[in-house]
């Protein structure tokens, strides 16, 4: 389990690297993280994925993480020399697919029962990500750890972003279940600025009203009191980066919801569902609170990981929106999360999927998720 990082960000270079990795002795699956700057996926690449004798899985993201560095170009390829089952779930936008039933039929009870780590990537902008995440927990429960996030592009709509044995696809999810152990920790560092506000009207990921007031009015009132200048549609993006919503949980960090746009009717479009009846806070944060959270998540993972683990790999799933907020300070976050003696790979994602086996599986935003992965035989 040794990752190879390519600085040359092209599909052809990635194709060569995958083929070479797939032919390495003992490699049973290939995990791939690719940059969206690779451009449009050539057909021949899909064909290679379909024809390879071992499964290839992963995603295409706005940027990657490799050993404490942010990569705007390039690819990461990691061969897994443990048995790995890969499952593809279609249609994260159509209303008809029942994911509970589909997953139940797709993955055998035995496979579910011995799953320890589930690397899960979804089309981050698909509308039914929330339903799918709920079904994952319904189906697997606390059986194993989930880590993953939303693949895709913030600038290119309908982007083919999921690397699967069927080719590079969109509007879907891919789950890989390797025989790997893991520890997963989550933190974000956002704090309440104002709230709680009751979500009195919402439509999936769109908040329409808070405390029976138009959501934008409430949001604007709070944000303008906290920043210089008025909040309008032109500067909404930058203001929203600093002030996400937080959904309350008892004795735990807020679940962050990132507002990314204003709908024509004034509704605030978020990444991820915000159910009616929820209590939300308008959050604030700065580089210090976020970096502290990053350091915190590093120490949480270290505390949770058995000391005997020497040859593991760290997978860091960090939110692209968090990266945009931190700007140049993201380098400090990457360094804060990096383990001194362990390879680190990761991606900047459109929403994060994480579960430590202790509580309900959530789809996070603006959050840092770190997992340490290691082969079962490390602990003897």
């Amino acid at each position: 389990m040794l990752p190879i990082t390519q600085c040359s960000g092209t599909w052809s270079a990635l194709q060569t690297a995958i083929i070479e990795m797939a032919t390495e002795p003992g490699v049973k699956a290939v995990f791939v993280l690719a940059c969206e700057s690779n451009g449009e996926v050539p057909e021949v690449f899909d064909q290679v994925l379909r024809e390879l004798s071992i499964p290839v899985f992963g995603g295409v993201f706005p940027a990657l993480i490799a050993d404490g560095n942010r990569l705007e170009h390039g690819n990461i390829v990691m061969g897994l020399d443990v048995a790995t089952d890969v499952y593809v779930i279609p249609s994260l936008s159509g209303p008809s697919l029942n994911y509970d039933t589909f997953l139940n039929d797709l993955i055998s009870p035995n496979r579910r029962a011995d799953a320890q780590t589930m690397l899960t990537f979804v089309d981050g902008l698909a509308p039914r990500v929330g339903d799918f995440i709920a079904s994952l927990f319904n189906t697997f429960g606390l059986q194993g750890n989930f880590i993953g996030g939303g693949a895709g592009s913030l600038v290119t709509p309908n982007f083919r972003c999921l690397i699967t044995p069927q080719g590079v696809i969109r509007d879907a999810a891919v789950i890989a279940i390797p025989h790997l152990s893991s520890r997963v920790c989550v933190a974000h560092g956002w704090e309440s600025l104002a709230g709680p506000f009751e979500v009195t009207e919402s439509e999936n990921n769109v908040i329409l009203s808070l405390d029976w007031e138009p959501a934008l009015n409430v949001y604007r009132q709070v944000v303008e009191a906290h920043q210089d200048g008025a909040l309008d549609t032109n500067n909404f993006g930058s203001s929203a980066q600093s002030h996400p919503f937080g959904m309350t949980r008892l004795n735990a960090e807020f679940v962050v919801r990132d507002p990314i746009a204003i709908r024509a009717d004034g509704g605030l479009i978020c990444v991820g569902d915000v159910p009616r009846g929820s209590l939300v806070h308008i959050m604030t944060g700065d580089q210090n609170t976020l970096l502290n959270a990053a350091k915190n998540v590093r120490s949480m993972v270290d505390n949770a990981t058995p000391a005997e683990v020497k040859n593991g790999v760290d997978l860091f799933i960090d939110c692209i929106s968090r990266s945009m907020f931190l700007g140049d300070h993201i380098a400090a976050e990457l360094q804060a999360v990096r383990h001194p003696s362990r390879p680190q790979i990761g991606a900047f994602t459109l929403g994060e999927i994480a579960n430590s086996g202790q509580e309900y599986l959530e789809f996070h935003n603006k959050t840092a998720v770190v997992a340490t992965l290691w082969e079962n035989n490390e602990l003897g």
Binding site: Q143, T248, L250, P275, R276, L279, E359, Y360
Partner: protein, 459 residues
Amino acid sequence: MNSAEQQALFEIVMAVGNGMELHPMLQTSLSVMMRKLGCNMAVVVRCDGNDVAAVHSIPHHIKQSREILAICQDFNNKQYSLPQLIEVGPQSFMVFVLAGYGLLVLGKTGAALSKPLRGSLTLIANKLALACTACEQAQAIKRAQRHTQLLLNSTAEGIYGVDIHGNCTFANAAFLQIFGYSDASEIIGKPVQDMIFHGHSSEIIAAKQEALLLSPMQYTKKTHASDEVFWRRDGSSFPVEYWSYPIEEEGVVTGAVVTFFDITERKAAEEQIKNLAFYDPLTLLPNRRLLLDRLQRALVSSIRNGRKVALLFLDLDNFKTLNDTLGHDKGDMLLQQVAHRLTTCIREGDTAARFGGDEFLVMLEGLSLEADEAMAQVEFIGNKILTMLNQPYDLDGTIYYNTPSIGMTLFNDENCSVDELMKRADIAMYQAKADGRNTLRFFDRDVQNTDTDNDRVLE
């Protein structure tokens, strides 16, 4: 209870118990509880006496957990009414009573929920219990409705309901098929009475109040009509038999249910039976029975209006020879062709009948008031028949010639009975035979007397 706990409770109260379908309602309720309280499992269990059975859980496979079911069984056996906290290693299970329904179990790793919070969750459990019961009742009603609909749709009888204003409240599949509607929405809420019953078979527009269909709503009694007419969407009609039953709610009639079936086939069968009784199956002419009945009526009518009635008795000459030489099939064909020719010779209102074998009767009604003139009319028609029956017959490729002998008599004596008239026509026919066949003769009383003496032959 701290503000975070109060906020969690608020969100849970807002989300729990919403919806009328059990599993989606429980999925939403339990997932919100788990998210807000930091739980990692939740199960709702149905208790029926001593039996416990998991209804819904998150994750789903927890439903089969023996450990959870054992906890629930123990809780149920001990009939606790207050929530219980059970700790198993790092995992704690909090069990709440769902009054009148079962139990709710929430599982959590780490610190258990505070006692005040657990106390407040009992109120939420009550709300969830009511919602579970309501969902099950709604499901039971839906099941009953589906069964009723299945029952309604599996019968060939048309069934529909009307409200007190006569508007359709439901219609089964047979109704839609019979009347030519593709969907119940085309008829429900509409004045079905006006759409399907607006005239009798005679095509006379029927007054609305004539319809027995609506009378149950006025008289609170079942009504029955054995032969009415309903009208299809395309304007065609069909005969029906129907029953209409009042719907009473607390002694007040609120509508009616009508069941009906199309009796077109039954009426056709009845018609066929009638034909067998009154018509000759070979020639399709009225038989002796129907002719005698009509003759009786004609005689009564003649006495009243004075118009003469005549009876012609026809016997085919040498018919036996045809049967013996060419076979009975050809004989039957001849009889059919004779019957057809007879019907072309008589006027509307007259009757040609097969009396039996090769004998036919023709009854002429509405003749002149004057006997002489009436006799001339009879003779004219008799000659027409004679001429027509002399024409060659094509018996399946065989050209055959046949002649009749025709006896004729006029009814001009009020004391003359049907039997007597028949006898007179018969005598006249024999007279025609005696005169060499292929001719017609009027009855003559003198001949009758002579005939009675068994010797004299007239003309």
